[in-house]
Symmetry: C2
Subunit: 151 residues, 2 copies
Amino acid sequence: MTTRSTEVNDEARRVDAQRLRDAGLRVTAPRLAVLAAVRAGNHLAADDVTAAARERIGSISTQATYDVLAALVRVGLVRRIEPAGSPARFETRVADNHHHIICRRCGVAVDVDCAMSQAPCLEPPGAAGFVIDEAEVIFWGVCPDCRRSRR
Amino acid sequence: MTTRSTEVNDEARRVDAQRLRDAGLRVTAPRLAVLAAVRAGNHLAADDVTAAARERIGSISTQATYDVLAALVRVGLVRRIEPAGSPARFETRVADNHHHIICRRCGVAVDVDCAMSQAPCLEPPGAAGFVIDEAEVIFWGVCPDCRRSRR
DNA sequence: ACCGTTGTTTGGAATCACTCCAATGAAGTT
DNA sequence: AACTTCATTGGAGTGATTCCAAACAACGGT
């Protein structure tokens, strides 16, 4: 580990700590570890987050991970997606309205920018009096890797 | 129950039986009951389907409902949707590409026609080499009833 | 019309993701 | 340094769903 990357890690950690405080949450090792793990990973499930956080701080209970993730989602630092047939996944990209493509074979998820230009697709025709606050879009398909290997 | 509605039920039943056969499935009382229950209901969960099917044929096991639903989904007679935080729901509208609005408070789901005109929204920009076969859209909001009562 | 094959249904047990609770422990406040 | 409040732990529990082996029923052949 170079001096440079340590500096970068420290800086990221400091920023995360401030974000937690700004959100009214206390700064704890589990929270910093979970936040860093979710950012470093690619749409990880709760299970994977626990494993990744353990690599950072040695130990964290399964329940703590769930609790931390719930707190982070509540204050908007983490977004939860729940693709059909898969446990919930988490990501730190929360500011914009973006969507996901998920591979039917291996489950990998990649981000896609909103297809509906700027106005974030909140105007379905015939909303029947509903007040809509979010449009969740999941594209289902097969990723390049899976298409290459098994077919 | 009038003669007329009995005729209608018999006819629907006959059509369902033929659909099952065409799909390569055997015609059984549980399957007819589940199919009818899903059609009559409004995005029912597996639980509700079991209850509704029991009203029709007296008894069906929970597991049979799951198995029947899985078979019907496999052959395309029923569509399964899995809104985040809710058990899976089932519907018989399968031919067209339509989406759903779900109420955050009461969980009621209503259909919406595809927002992306004809081309059924299968062209996200930057699909990264994925071959996409379905675009699933869920609009989240609050339904008129819930907005009226609790606010 | 019966019979056998094969696909269905049943019931029971097990699993998976997740939540609840009470008790211990650590952050941040004064 | 002491205190209050919030966070974390471990254990038990829940709801939806799946797995398995045994009993059963649909439908094609005789």
